[in-house]
């Protein structure tokens, strides 16, 4: 019997984003977007306030448009379960600059802690491998986070990592919620100030 998830999601996300340099980040709606915002309100972050199930595919589009940049999709277990087909789509394309991290607390924390399918055994890393991801793994312990951070910033291949985290509710750290602002801010930071004149 595996232990209940115990990692602190805020500490994990802070560690993963350390030394992020020009990493592009798409954060799935809910707690994961708040985690990313708790580290910094960064212009190369695109936090989603809706579009549930779409985070990984936003990441694929970004990864194809910017093949020289690393793109991190960081999202929750509920969000990725809603877009599970996108794992097959992404594996078929195998973009080497895309990485998907799933913060898996085994519940829908935003809506009252109802259990997700991962609480009953759905294994998102195994699903990714079965879809054709070249690498996927599940981390449960603190000493697995630094190697994962290195892979996010350095590995030249597609991968997915599930991190089992405690279903603790942290104080909200909200990113800007104006979508047009988030769009223009990311494009200006990534493509240069002329991007908003296009």
């Amino acid at each position: 019997m595996t232990q209940a998830p115990h990692l602190n999601r805020r500490e994990v996300v802070t560690a993963l984003l350390a030394g992020r340099s020009d990493l592009l980040v798409v954060a799935g709606l809910g707690a994961t977007a708040w985690d990313v915002a708790s580290v910094a309100d960064h212009p190369l972050d695109f936090p989603l306030w809706g579009a549930m199930g779409g985070a990984a595919m936003v990441g694929l589009g970004l990864a194809f448009a910017q093949p020289s940049r690393k793109v991190l999709v960081i999202t929750g277990d509920g969000e990725i379960l809603m877009g599970m087909g996108s794992l097959a789509t992404i594996a078929a394309q195998r973009p080497r600059n895309l990485r998907v991290v799933v913060m898996d607390n085994e519940c829908y924390a935003e809506t009252g802690l109802q259990r997700t399918h991962t609480a009953f055994g759905a294994d998102i890393a195994a699903i990714a491998l079965a879809c054709g991801f070249p690498h996927a793994r599940t981390a449960r312990e603190a000493d697995e986070i630094e190697p994962l951070r290195e892979d996010i910033h350095q590995l030249d291949d597609l991968f997915l990592a599930v991190i089992k985290v405690a279903p603790t509710d942290y104080p909200k750290a909200l990113p800007p919620r104006d979508g047009a602002y988030l769009k223009n801010r990311m494009r200006a930071a990534l493509l240069g100030p002329q991007a908003v004149f296009e």
Partner: protein, 180 residues
């Protein structure tokens, strides 16, 4: 007199492809439909374009959003039956004022044989409008190029979502029994 539908289809698919090339649409994502077969082939044969097969249509909405954030233009190709799958994801387009272009091959309308296509086909223009897209419709092959050019300009020039419905009359009604 039966028209030669395959010749017509080849003609307007080329028009769409040429507008994509001229206006910098360099990625397409799709759930295949018989009406899109020539366009998909043209895009897949061009190594300057990227064609991405999807498991479900809403993936293509999110994909186009990401492509635009990264400075590229993408279009979503689908059949009308896939439109319903996209509705909540299209809130991304409206909320973020993202340019978005989708080409929808229509079923469930002109001369449809399959009753299961009717509900989504008839709902397609209504629900696309309801979620905030501007909807164009093409019935004749000689209108395809003009409408596509306008749709691309509108979407990427005015930061909005545009759907071009390629009507069943344009594509040719699917036949399950060959005519004698």
């Amino acid at each position: 007199m039966r028209q030669n539908r395959s010749d017509l289809a080849r003609h307007w698919a080329h028009d769409i492809y040429e507008v994509f090339r001229a206006q910098g649409v360099s990625m397409v994502s799709y759930v295949p439909d018989a009406g899109h077969v020539d366009l998909i082939k043209l895009c897949e044969a061009d190594d300057r374009m990227r064609a991405v097969s999807l498991t479900s249509e809403e993936e293509g909405v999110a994909f186009a959003a990401g492509a635009y954030l990264g400075g590229k233009r993408a279009a979503l190709l689908m059949q009308s039956s896939g439109v319903g799958n996209c509705i909540n994801m299209l809130s991304l387009i409206k909320t973020c004022q993202l340019p978005f272009l989708t080409l929808v091959t229509m079923r469930g309308e002109f001369g449809e044989f399959n009753p299961w296509q009717i509900p989504m086909g008839q709902a397609t223009p209504v629900v696309l409008s309801a979620i905030g897209l501007i909807v164009y419709r093409v019935d004749a092959p000689n209108e395809v190029r003009d409408v596509l050019e306008a749709a691309v300009s509108l979407a990427f020039g005015s930061y909005c979502g545009v759907a071009v419905l390629l009507s069943q009359r344009l594509i040719g009604t699917k036949r399950f029994v060959e005519e004698k």
